[in-house]
């Protein structure tokens, strides 16, 4: 045991990295597993560059589709003409950096990947710790910019969800398939996740000291604070809906299933 750690000179010499008797490792192990699976799945889909449009649905990873050789129907399908890799690479960094710098995901990966700490009152295995004071982790202080970009992205995904109410062949309004519901649910969950963000909470009112002079912003802060209390929950739910929304489009576009239609004009 390192003598600078929990058994540093002068402290009670207990000689165990933790005396916790509960199964404290379940939570970091679970988080590690799910986040790894998410990253692997997303990387596969983002780099593959195919099966992302199944009329009228577009995959979340490929929207907005900014390359001119995007699949027909994936909007806006331009203006970048010189791009030769998967079009998802043009935009997927936005949700990636948004989630990477999110205060909740920071907690999650510091605990489960860095083990800093793996759980409360369980010693971390590192001899030195500098926190978020240096590069690269000090960059997490710019989370707010990823939040602004994520807002723009959510607008696009909301448009995608609305366009999913059109018929697949001739784009007539009045169509509801399983995909319509999934895309809509995903957009809603992403709004909850994004608006419950800590940077959002600061921006709408948290940075103000005199709420009494800014009643509207105080009201907004109150609402965002309520959402913010469940930010972790929305982080997980929206992670799930993103995968579901993409995977459903993948299954349709690769011809493995056909859309179940509830209603069509």
């Amino acid at each position: 045991m390192a003598t600078t750690g929990v058994d540093a000179p002068g402290r009670a010499q207990i000689g165990a990295s933790t005396l916790r008797t509960d199964r404290w490792w379940i939570q970091p192990a679970f988080t590690f597993g799910v986040l790894t699976a998410f990253v692997v799945y997303s990387a596969w889909r983002v780099f593959s560059g195919q099966y992302y449009y199944a009329s009228p649905y577009v995959s979340v990873y490929f929207s907005p589709c900014l390359a001119t050789d995007c699949a027909e129907g994936a909007l806006p399908g331009g203006p970048i003409s010189w791009w030769w890799l998967s079009p998802a690479l043009l935009t997927a960094w936005i949700p990636l950096t948004f989630r990477f710098s999110c205060y909740y995901y920071r907690k999650a990966y510091y605990r489960s990947f860095w083990m800093s700490p793996p759980a409360c009152a369980v010693s971390e295995p590192h001899g030195k710790y500098t926190g978020e004071r240096r590069l690269p982790l000090i960059m997490n202080n710019l989370h707010r910019y990823t939040f602004y970009l994520a807002l723009l992205l959510n607008i696009m995904l909301t448009i995608d969800a609305v366009l999913a109410f059109r018929t697949p062949n001739d784009y007539q309004w009045g169509y509801v398939g399983v995909g319509t519901l999934i895309l809509t649910a995903n957009a809603v969950c992403l709004w909850f996740y994004t608006l419950s963000c800590h940077s959002c909470r600061n921006a709408v009112g948290g940075r103000i000291t005199h709420f009494s002079k800014h009643p509207v912003r105080y009201k907004m802060w109150t609402v965002v604070s309520k959402l913010n209390a469940h930010h972790m929950m929305w982080a997980w739910i929206s992670l799930g809906t993103v995968v579901l929304a993409d995977f459903y489009v993948y299954l349709l576009a690769s011809g493995r299933i056909t859309d179940f239609v509830f209603f069509t004009v």
Binding site: A12, T21, Y129, R144, H210, S212, A229
Partner: protein, 260 residues
């Protein structure tokens, strides 16, 4: 309905020590501190323990029970299985004095480093007027009983003795947040939060929040908002440009008026 429970209690001082085994009677409704008192009364009269109120309000009886930082007076025996061995140790981040008593002076040193509340110079003490909505946020932080369980659990100092110089721990960063949000405080505390108190050491892993016996949302309501306020000033290029603009146009606050 009483039973005999197995305990391991750390005994020793800064020279060394070990966990000692005890069998102690437990009665219905008792808390861990009751058992420690029974130990003192029966088998270990020289066992050192610090306590005062037995009501979770004085913050003296902080220790670690089965490895979890807790107040002994607020840890009910009924939460344990009668067959389980219960381990009690002193807090593991502060120097031990004897048995369950630690030297928590690190916390007082850090407390003294926080710049005092500074109301506007022309405001007499009897003339303070504040709207409830303006003080509500900082009132949550006033529930603190200074048990220092949060500072004890924060891995930045618990696992790294060498960080104690640069980092004041969640308790005092929360105090800075409280004053920074205070409607009558005139000091901009964002630089000291980073430079003197080491806000950047906190990686928002929330262990302070997990152990706080007052259930204060330390991370969500104090530390993260403080990080965001610091980002406004120190890390956000656009925000810096806009505040330069406000200064140039005279729309910025004069230094002696309360913060906007």
């Amino acid at each position: 309905m009483g039973y005999s429970a197995k305990f391991k209690v750390w005994r020793g001082d800064d020279e060394g020590g070990a966990l000692e085994d005890f069998d102690v009677d437990v009665n219905e409704g008792e808390v861990v501190l009751d058992i420690v008192h029974r130990l003192q009364a029966t088998q270990a009269p020289d066992l050192a323990v610090r306590w005062n109120c037995k009501a979770g309000k004085c913050g003296s009886c902080s220790a670690e029970v089965n490895g979890k930082p807790r107040l002994m007076c607020m840890t009910r025996m009924s939460t344990f299985d009668p067959a389980e061995t219960i381990t009690i140790t002193p807090m593991r981040t502060f120097p031990v004095i004897r048995d369950l008593v630690t030297d928590v002076s690190y916390n007082y040193t850090k407390a003294r480093m926080v710049p005092a509340f500074a109301p506007p110079a022309d405001l007499e003490p009897g003339d303070y007027r504040m709207a409830q909505v303006d003080v509500e946020r900082s009132q949550e932080f006033r529930k603190c009983i200074e048990c220092f369980l949060c500072n004890n659990t924060c891995h930045a100092v618990r696992d790294h003795e060498d960080n104690k110089d640069g980092f004041s721990g969640p308790r005092f960063l929360m105090r800075i947040a409280e004053l920074d949000m205070h409607p009558l405080d005139t000091v901009d505390r964002r630089d000291v939060a980073v430079e003197d108190h080491g806000l950047g050491y906190c990686n928002i892993t929330k262990c302070c929040t997990e152990v706080c016996p007052e259930h204060i949302h330390i991370t969500d309501n104090a530390l993260i908002p403080l990080k965001e306020r610091v980002a406004d000033k120190k890390y956000d290029p656009l925000f810096s440009v806009s505040s330069l603009f406000r200064k140039a146009t005279g729309r910025d606050k004069a230094p002696e008026t309360p913060k906007g």
